[in-house]
Subunit: 187 residues, 2 copies
């Protein structure tokens, strides 16, 4: 359950309510979760029973009380251990590639339209990723190095989508050439 550590991480950065965590996850272009309540509140309950976070309640009138979660010493230790854990291979889920694999039954034009649609989808995502960097969260950086790490994490996402765009452009051009050659030999 990796989201548990992701949440713990954000709590190591500043105390928050479940609602705050939800917003961070939902607004993030890079976190692979939707930010749904069910998962987050359940994870927070777990973190609390693990004693990795403590909970304090701030009463409000005319609104539900805010349950503020704060990371504990134990939680900091657990997070530190997790961070040093053997890295996993990144894995991407690109449904489009599986569509493309069986696209040979389509007309050349149809394939090109598909690729264009994919180009637009990826391009749009890239745009939002870049915009999010400008919006800059109002969260202070704890150190020079941490700021650098966060920037590089952001750039990682951008680089991936840029690579994808290059790949799409290349395949479109080459398919155009292939199609031209096919027509030539047919004449």
């Amino acid at each position: 359950m990796s989201i548990k550590y992701v949440i713990l991480g954000y709590l190591s950065w500043q105390p928050m309510t479940g609602y705050d965590v939800k917003k961070i996850i939902a607004d993030s272009e890079t976190l692979p979760w939707t930010g749904n309540n069910n998962q987050i509140y359940r994870a927070l309950v777990q973190l609390h029973t693990d004693a990795w976070v403590s909970k304090s309640i701030e009463e409000q009138d005319g609104a539900p009380n805010r349950h503020i979660y704060t990371i504990t010493e134990e939680g900091i230790r657990a997070l530190g251990e997790w961070v040093k854990t053997e890295p996993e291979v990144p894995q991407s889920k690109k449904t489009f590639l599986h569509q493309l694999r069986w696209a040979d039954s389509l007309e050349a034009e149809e394939i090109d339209e598909l690729l264009e649609a994919y180009l637009n989808t990826v391009g749009e995502k890239l745009f939002f990723l870049r915009v999010q960097a400008d919006r800059k969260p109002n969260m202070p950086d704890r150190s020079m190095r941490e700021k650098y790490l966060w920037e590089m994490i952001h750039k990682n996402g951008i680089a991936q989508y840029e690579t994808e765009l290059d790949w799409i452009r290349r395949i479109r051009e080459e398919l155009k050439e292939l199609e031209a050659a096919r027509r030539w030999t047919k004449l």
Copy 2:
């Protein structure tokens, strides 16, 4: 349930048993599933009740009978429609990035070790991806264009991991510079 279409795709390519499908998925470096029985056999039952595949049984003695699934006309139609479906944004799950985000509490050396471990993991994966291209499946290509598409799909994975390696190398170098600068100012 995208795996349903993935399986349907492979069945469009040639009739197969569940076991064959399992092997393809398990051996693939790019398909994001493990190739576990439960999922595959269940999906095949669904495909069959959808009438997208037909089933014939080849009896064997001293071994379980082979249930051979063949795509139907309806299945071909369904696959064709799915292929033309609006492409989704690719999304990757990079647990390592979430580890790195909270790595600022570590010593410079420890971070570098982490990054080196990540480099090795990604490098190894890339190696296997390339090897798999040589191993080349004994499956005949149906057309020039399909062969090209499959090659490009393969290159897509390679490009992603290469981008990742570049990113790791860059961050390692820059962190080294940062650390050097920090030591310099401390003296």
